[in-house]
């Protein structure tokens, strides 16, 4: 055997070792499951595929947790992980699923709306594959996802994404972004089918209010806010005023632009009777000029580079040595969502919603997010679900 052949064999072994070492964590991440314990308020679990059958049996299908109240009333939908790299929304919806009891009306909760994105990652940006939340019974591990669905579920990307039905030209990547593919269609690319399923849920179940949880960079102007179209503006404004006055945090109102298509706060309002709201909480992890994208940065939001930029007034939110911790972001989402439901109920008493058992901003900041999760090992197995 020649020296060159030996080199070739060595290179082949090295390449196989690299592909295996790199591939196994990615495979495990895509196929890992996050347990959650359905609380006393959950009355049934349905799927997006119940509203768009072509999703059935695919990784892009998602669970819908239904919390039916003792009394009839209005209906609300909470959506998280539209962008799976903005995890405060996921944690907020899991707290609702595990703790909320609905006294009046019905609540629908989709914790991993873009299920494919929640199983995707961004190694080029150094994203961690997982993050953990401390609880009294140990750490709970969550998958860190990506903004867009995985190409394993939707491939190839077009040169430019032509939005349906407005024909607006969007970035090619947006064809996998479930906050650009609203209102969707049943025979479109998979992510358009996902948003179409949610639209069908809202139209068939006559959902009154839809709240889509997001996170945005501190350097992005549309952050720390409620994005609402004209039809939702009054409730959004009252909500912003109430959370500022009663709970002491800012969440200003941003109007939903009429000419930028595909976004939930625009298309849900235009293609159904539902009042849409999109909540943005600051997430320093997503800012570009930060240090390494570590789990610590994701959870505490502390970064020295952002602190310098804050001193130069380059950020759109107040920022100091305390960073912008996850508990605060989840607390903002929770309190803002509850206040939206409260304002809607006041405005439309015949369609009121009333829920209890859910912590608000101050409690979440004080006790931490982990205080509201339940141990799946000790729960009744029929209440344990996997996302």
């Amino acid at each position: 055997m020649t020296d060159k052949n030996n080199v070739k064999i060595a290179l082949t072994i090295l390449a196989l070792a690299l592909v295996t070492a790199g591939g196994i964590p990615l495979y495990k991440h895509r196929h890992s499951r996050m347990p959650l314990v359905a609380g006393p308020g959950v009355t049934k679990v349905i799927k997006l595929s119940d509203f768009e059958p072509s999703l059935k049996g695919r990784m892009i299908d998602a669970d819908i947790f239904v919390l039916e109240g003792r009394e009839p009333g209005g209906k609300a939908l909470l959506i998280a992980n539209t962008h799976a790299n903005e995890p405060a929304g996921l944690l907020a919806t899991l707290i609702v699923i595990e703790n909320a009891v609905v006294d009046k009306g019905t609540l629908y909760v989709i914790p991993t709306f873009n299920a494919s994105a929640s199983r995707n990652t961004k190694p080029g940006d150094g994203y961690p594959l997982y993050y953990d939340i401390p609880t009294a019974w140990g750490k709970v591990l969550f998958r860190m996802g990506n903004r867009d669905a995985s190409p394993l579920d939707q491939w190839p990307d077009p040169d430019a994404y032509i939005h349906y039905p407005d024909k607006q030209l969007l970035s090619y990547l947006d064809v996998r972004n479930t906050n650009r593919t609203w209102p969707g269609r049943p025979d479109g690319p998979p992510m358009e089918r996902v948003t179409f399923a949610a639209m069908e849920l809202m139209r068939r179940e006559k959902i009154d209010v839809a709240i889509d949880f997001h996170g945005a960079e501190t350097m992005f102007p549309v952050t720390n806010c409620i994005v609402a179209p004209q039809k939702s503006a009054k409730i959004a404004t009252l909500t912003a005023m109430m959370v500022k006055a009663m709970e002491g945090f800012d969440s200003h109102v941003e109007p939903s632009p009429q000419n930028f298509r595909g976004l939930s706060h625009r298309e849900i309002g235009d293609f159904s009777d539902t009042l849409p709201f999109l909540l943005e909480a600051p997430i320093p992890f997503l800012d570009q000029p930060t240090g390494p994208k570590t789990v610590k940065l994701l959870l505490d939001g502390k970064d020295p580079f952002l602190l310098n930029l804050a001193k130069e007034k380059r950020l759109f939110v107040p920022y100091d040595e305390n960073g912008w911790p996850m508990d605060k972001r989840v607390g903002q989402h929770m309190s803002t969502a509850l206040e939206i439901l409260k304002q809607f109920s006041k405005k439309t008493p015949g369609r009121a919603l009333k829920l209890t058992g859910v912590p608000q901003y101050a409690e979440l900041v004080k006790n931490g997010v982990g205080a509201y999760f339940h141990d799946p090992a000790k729960a009744d197995p029929k209440n344990v679900h996997y996302e």
Partner: protein, 51 residues
Amino acid sequence: MNIIMIFYYLISAFLAVLLAWNFIREKKNVNDMILYLLVLAPFVLRLLRIK
């Protein structure tokens, strides 16, 4: 999996075979051997539906 996606997997498989074949045929240039393997890696990960 729709027809376009299947077609893209077939293209990937074809390119992966081409790269592997070039690697096997390369007798002298070690840099080229490394290059073929590096370019091959993402095709393998996609064909195995890992990334």
